[in-house]
């Protein structure tokens, strides 16, 4: 049985739907408070998948995801490395992505922050459905294999955040490209990457919506795949007759990876 640990703390709020997503995909899922993991870090070993769900951990006080990121860095650095070395995969959604970035797990598991997710250019929290380009030619093979099976070249998912503007030095972005780490980019309906608002909803550099680590086994993204599990989740579900719930596919892929 594939086992998923969904790590929660004060202010996590997408934990239940994320648990549902993994369960629909066929994994056994557990919600653990960070205090429980802190007491028993070795417990991480039991799991195949570690997920950092969305929310406002610690109220996003100071900056989004920062406090939990520090806790991970201070308390669980070795355990996370061991978890990955042993073949586990990690998914960070929205606030979870912010945590992975600020803990330095993305982009290279070096536990030093190399990129950031800053306040949206609009200065506002925004809930909106966006389109994402998936260009497999430019994505790490393992990442394609774990996360992207059966997805078309353009998908749509909802975002809901105030701090999602992907930011890095130019050199860093170049490295991400070279290492094939950029997995999702904001685009228009046809999959064409457009820099203008609202296609790029937060002013992200290079329209980056999600990246993986060097191995392709850690994925962080701002959009919420757990909010597109059923066809009724899309705002035009009554019109489109044949919709694949793209979000659900991502969870199914992650779980099926361990069944291969």
């Amino acid at each position: 049985m594939v086992k998923t640990l969904i790590l929660r703390t004060a202010g996590t709020n997408c934990d239940l739907e994320t648990k549902l997503a993994f369960e629909i995909a066929g994994a056994k899922s557990y919600l653990w408070h960070i205090n429980r993991v802190k007491q028993n870090p070795a417990g991480l070993k039991e799991f195949n998948i570690l997920c950092f769900p969305g929310g406002f951990t610690y109220g996003d006080d100071i900056s989004a995801g920062k406090i939990l990121a520090n806790q991970i860095k201070f308390w669980l650095k070795n355990e996370i490395s061991a978890f990955l070395n042993k073949g586990g995969i990690i998914l960070g959604i929205c606030n979870g992505f912010q945590v992975l970035v600020k803990a330095g797990i993305l982009p290279d598991c070096g536990f030093r922050q190399k990129i950031s997710l800053l306040a949206n250019t609009s200065g506002k929290f925004e809930d909106r459905w966006v389109y994402l380009e998936i260009n497999r030619d430019k994505i790490n093979k393992t990442a394609c294999n774990i996360w992207l099976k059966g997805l078309p070249e353009t998908i749509c998912l909802p975002i809901a955040h105030a701090e999602g503007r992907f930011y890095a030095e130019k050199e860093q972005i170049k490295q991400l490209q070279e290492n094939r780490q950029i997995i999702f980019r904001y685009s228009d309906k046809t999959g064409k990457v457009k820099e203008s608002y609202p296609f790029n909803p937060n002013g992200s550099m290079y329209n980056i919506a999600g990246i993986t680590d060097l191995t392709g086994r850690v994925l962080g993204l701002m959009p919420h795949p757990e909010r597109y599990l059923f066809k009724e989740h899309i705002p035009f579900w009554q019109k489109e007759r044949n919709i694949i719930p793209f979000g659900r596919k991502i969870f199914e892929n992650a779980v099926n990876y361990f069944k291969q």
């Binding site: 004060a10 202010g11 996590t12 709020n13 997408c14 239940l16 739907e17 549902l20 408070h33 205090n35 429980r36 969305g54 929310g55 406002f56 610690y58 109220g59 996003d60 006080d61 100071i62 900056s63 920062k66 406090i67 520090n70 806790q71 201070f74 308390w75 600020k102 922050q113 990129i115 950031s116 800053l118 306040a119 949206n120 250019t121 609009s122 200065g123 506002k124 929290f125 925004e126 809930d127 909106r128 909802p158 809901a160 930011y167 890095a168 002013g203 919420h224 757990e226 909010r227 599990l229 009724e232 989740h233 705002p235 035009f236 579900w237 009554q238 019109k239």
Partner: protein, 963 residues
């Protein structure tokens, strides 16, 4: 050591904070002003300089766009000209403080930071010093913050300044026994908001006891007997008269307990089998599915929002969420609603009142902050504008909860312990309950500063997680929220039947310096009172620890039928529960309603229909509220199936539909109806019209009128004004008659009085406002409909007959004819009810592709809105619209006759649809076109309106597009 960390955005990066401050300056006419913004953290504790540097670097800044500087004094450097530093007032909750302390502890591995506060420094350039000092007040709210004075703060050695002084116990007694009536009246008025009759009753009670009351006893009575807590006007004796405009008496009536004889009566008479708990608990409960029931509550937070919009709105939403958590043995919050009434943003500011734009932005920010951080989707709402809301906006916050069937009722018995859990108690919100029962005046900002607070959503989120966990393990048997009146209301009410004993010094405090009375009546946020068996304390402790929730056992349930309070062993309050809850003398008041004379003047027919439709779409009341909707997370919990914005182009929806339990099929539809403009013509029909609006919204989304419940929220002016009370009576009577005819019960409600304001001596009273919120259970998603056009060539039907009844309409308002006609639309509830049942059964058979209700702006706006969400358009023929009265294109298109829908039907289903609706008024008014936009052919068959898809989109979205 005192440490100051200043954090700034590095050059070359966008600073959203500075940008939003620039917008404020630009709105005041200083478009060239440049702004530098710094966030500041003040820390105190046993930390070395090196540790302070690394806290700043690793915890407080984002290395990618921020820089920092550490100082070892409070102020660092002296603020220059056009520079201001702002900090919270002593005693005001700083929500970030706890996070900073724990984050520093995480890093250092010890609790080294004993104290943390935040502040901000703003430096403005391109503006004269004199000009700056005139407008610096727009940068902060003196109720919760103040400008740092350099001379005072530069010498500060410790942050104790912010933590209050020590309190030394001294029992205060108020000599009422020999007080003259004049003194009684004065004591009652000053701070207690009690009238002479009530004060006399209290004097009598204590004379019998042969002792004077303590301050704590008086405050407890004042809180418990406040309008806010006990609804004494609504339940009082009213002498009601109706007059015509010449002063002739039309009708006279003695009413005892209006609430019982209208709102509660209809629910009793209908006796609907799906009602579980009505008007008893913190919210009303109805049946949902085999496992769960659902509960719903809507509260107002008007006065606090007028004074401190962000804090007022956020504590409003926080409070109503606690009502849900405190229903039965605890419900889980699944959705929020928000409805606002403001003055138009372009209304000129007046002295003593915050500018409308500031109130609007602050309120939206507050709901956003609290709702999003709690992880509760805000799914339905409305915003209305009228100048009379200038000094007294209305902020309604609603919340819906899911509750297991066996957890709907509280159980309490003597010997159980009373626990307070969640936030600590401070001086915040003292006198909130009595404050909301008095009218606002220009000096309100001075007297009520302690009644305004800041919420901490994370505190409440932790509390909610702990409560639900404990509930599911059956660790407690009753729970209620600390709302208005604080512990006094919560602990008092919950133990009302038995009696209780509370040791006030056991209540966890934010800081020292609170007197026993302050502890008892403080309205500090994020607290719940729980009653549990002693044996469950260890298990409860484990859960509270794991979820990092503060709590304390503060007393126990007794069987003395007395409320007994102690402070360090001294008895400070001893009141009979019976007197406290049943001793309030019945209020006697007069109420009068003057029936306005019918006005019907000729309205000139418009020459340019395109222009009228554009004006309607961009009017404040009708235009897109996308600016607000998108700031709310309306999709968290992943159950929102009909969202506030639907279709590929995101057009407006009628009601929200959510699926709260993943594994089950049932859904909930949520809607509202509100229209204060109608009450200027007649509050009775206003009530009928807004009930119809709420129910037809439910129907348009696929809801079932036969499994629907309503909530009533009244907002009115002073309860001392007989005309205001006349409106109250008339509205309540409307509620009774129409709810009875629609056969839809009320399950919970609230009334808010004293919604008025004085500007230079002139009273400005809000129009009588009734918000109806409706909640409907759908067996599955089959009947779900959105109002977005689905396919070209589909037929468009209008259901219901349109009438020449233009009173109160948006059309009259935007064309400057609002006083030309006051004949309100008629409601025919029996007929409407049959129509709603039919729409529901047709929706289940899937013969309607899309459905939209007609309300503000009439058919023309309804059709435009259906175009908005899709990439399709419509061709419409007004001659085909069933109509009564003088048939004119403008009347046909813009009349707001209730109980009407536009339905989109495919050609295959045409026959079936017409069979279903045989016997109802309907017309085929046109069809969906692949060409986007709206084209309307008038009665003379010539085209009278032709708007492209882009035009509709532009005019609907433009009003708030730059917000």
């Amino acid at each position: 050591m005192l440490i100051r960390v200043e954090i700034f955005i590095q050059p070359g990066h966008i600073d959203p904070q500075a940008e939003s401050i620039k917008k404020i300056f630009a709105s005041l006419g200083y478009k060239q002003a440049g702004v530098e913004f710094r966030r500041i953290y003040f820390l105190e504790g046993s930390i070395s300089k090196q540790e302070a540097e690394s806290i700043a670097k690793q915890v407080l800044v984002d290395p990618f766009n921020e820089g920092f500087k550490v100082f070892y004094s409070f102020l660092g450097r002296k603020p220059g000209p056009c520079e201001i530093e702002i900090v919270y007032n002593p005693g005001v909750t700083d929500p970030v403080s706890q996070s900073v302390k724990s984050a520093a502890a995480d890093m250092l591995g010890r609790n080294a930071v004993s104290f943390a506060r935040t502040g901000r420094r703003i430096k403005v350039s391109g503006i004269k010093e004199k000009e700056f000092s005139d407008i610096e007040k727009f940068l902060f709210n003196p109720l919760i913050e103040h400008k740092v004075s350099y001379s005072k703060y530069s010498r500060l050695k410790t942050l104790d300044e912010f933590s209050g002084k020590n309190y030394e116990f001294k029992l205060i007694k108020v000599n009422l026994l020999d007080a003259e009536d004049a003194d009684l009246e004065r004591i009652g008025k000053e701070g207690l908001s009690l009238n002479l009759a009530e004060m006399k009753t209290i004097r009598e009670y204590f004379r019998k006891l042969g002792r004077s009351p303590t301050d704590c006893e008086l405050e407890t009575l004042a809180q418990t007997w406040s309008e806010h807590c006990v609804h004494k006007t609504f339940r009082g004796n009213l002498h009601y008269r109706e007059k015509d405009s010449r002063g002739n008496l039309l009708k006279e009536e003695k009413i005892t307990n209006l609430l019982k004889n209208t709102i509660a009566k209809v629910t009793n008479e209908l006796n609907s089998d799906y009602c579980v708990s009505v008007f008893e608990d913190n919210s009303g409960i109805i049946k949902f599915n085999s496992q769960y029931n659902v509960c719903f509550k809507v509260e107002t937070h008007n006065h606090p929002s007028a004074l401190e919009p962000f804090g007022g709105a956020s504590t409003g939403i926080g409070g109503v969420i606690r009502d849900i958590l405190g229903t039965g043995k605890g419900a889980y919050p699944i959705a929020s609603t928000d409805i606002f009434c403001f003055a138009q943003p372009n209304t000129p500011a007046v002295e003593g009142v915050l500018a409308p734009a500031r109130i609007i932005k602050g309120v939206v920010e507050g709901v956003k902050d609290y709702g999003n951080k709690m992880g509760i989707p805000t799914v339905n709402g409305a915003v209305l504008f009228d100048q009379r809301f200038l000094g007294n906006p209305l902020v309604f916050c609603g919340n819906i909860g899911l509750i297991p069937k066996d957890k709907c009722f509280k159980e309490i018995s003597p010997g159980q312990v009373i626990i307070v859990a969640g936030g600590k108690t401070g001086k915040d919100g003292i006198h909130g309950a009595t404050f909301s029962s008095a009218e606002l005046h220009t000096k309100s900002t001075e007297v009520s500063s302690s009644a305004v607070q800041i919420g901490s959503p994370i505190e409440e989120k932790k509390l909610a997680s702990a409560i639900i966990k404990a509930r599911d393990k059956n660790l407690y048997s009753a729970i209620t929220d600390c709302g208005a009146g604080g512990l006094s209301s919560a602990a008092g009410e919950i133990s009302q039947k038995w009696g209780c004993k509370v040791d006030l010094e056991k209540v966890p405090l934010k800081y020292q310096g609170l007197s026993y009375t302050e502890i008892w009546i403080s309205e500090s946020q994020e607290r719940m009172v729980i009653v549990a068996d002693k044996k469950n304390l260890p298990a409860l402790d484990k859960i509270f620890q794991e979820e990092e929730v503060n709590y304390a056992v503060i007393g126990e349930i007794t069987d003395t039928k007395k409320l007994e309070l102690f402070y360090q062993g001294e008895n400070v309050c001893s009141l009979d529960m019976n007197f406290l809850y049943n001793g309030l003398p019945k209020i006697e008041k007069k109420a009068v309603w003057v029936k306005p004379e019918i006005i019907k003047r000729q309205i000139p027919a418009p020459s340019d229909y395109n222009l009228i439709i554009k004006k309607l779409l961009s009017s404040y009341n009708i235009c897109s509220k996308e600016w607000i909707i998108r700031q709310y997370d309306h999709e968290v919990q992943a159950g929102t199936f009909i969202k506030p914005l639907m279709g590929e182009n995101f057009g407006p929806a009628d009601a929200a539909v959510i699926k709260p339990v993943f594994s089950k099929k049932e859904l909930l539809a949520i809607s509202c109806g509100i229209n204060p403009f109608y009450s200027d013509c007649d509050p009775y029909f206003m009530a009928g019209l807004v009930i119809d609006e709420a129910l037809r919204n439910i129907t348009a989304a696929g809801g079932n009128i036969n499994h629907t419940a309503m909530l009533d929220n009244f907002c009115l002016g002073s309860a001392e004004d007989e005309k205001v009370l006349g409106d109250l009576v008339r509205t309540a009577k409307g509620c009774y008659d129409f709810a009875r005819a629609y056969k839809v019960p009320f399950i919970s409600g609230k009334d808010s009085f004293y919604n008025e304001f004085k500007i230079s001596g002139e009273r400005i009273v809000i129009p009588a406002t009734l918000l109806i919120s409706a909640l409907s259970v759908l067996p599955d998603k089959e009947s779900c409909m959105s109002c977005v056009f689905k396919k070209e060539k589909n037929l468009l039907y209008v259901l219901g007959r349109t009438g020449e009844e233009m009173g109160g309409s948006e059309y009259l308002r935007i064309s400057g004819n609002i006083n030309a006609d006051n004949r309100l639309p008629q409601v025919f509830p029996e007929r409407a009810r049959r129509l709603y049942e039919k729409v529901y059964s047709s929706a289940r058979q899937k013969i309607i592709e899309s459905c939209h209700d007609c309300s503000d702006g009439g058919l023309a706006v309804a059709l435009a809105e259906m175009c908005l969400g899709s990439n399709l358009g419509a061709d419409i023929f007004t001659a085909e619209i069933p109509f009564s009265g003088e048939k004119r294109d403008d009347y046909v298109l813009f009349s707001e006759t209730p109980s009407r829908f536009v339905a989109e039907v495919s050609l295959e289903n045409r026959e079936k649809f017409e069979q279903e609706f045989a016997g109802f008024d309907y017309g085929i008014i046109g069809c969906v076109s692949e060409k986007p936009g709206l084209r309307i052919y008038g009665l003379n068959s010539k085209i009278i309106a032709d708007l492209s898809g882009e035009e509709l989109d532009f005019y609907w979205r433009k009003t708030f597009s730059n917000w």
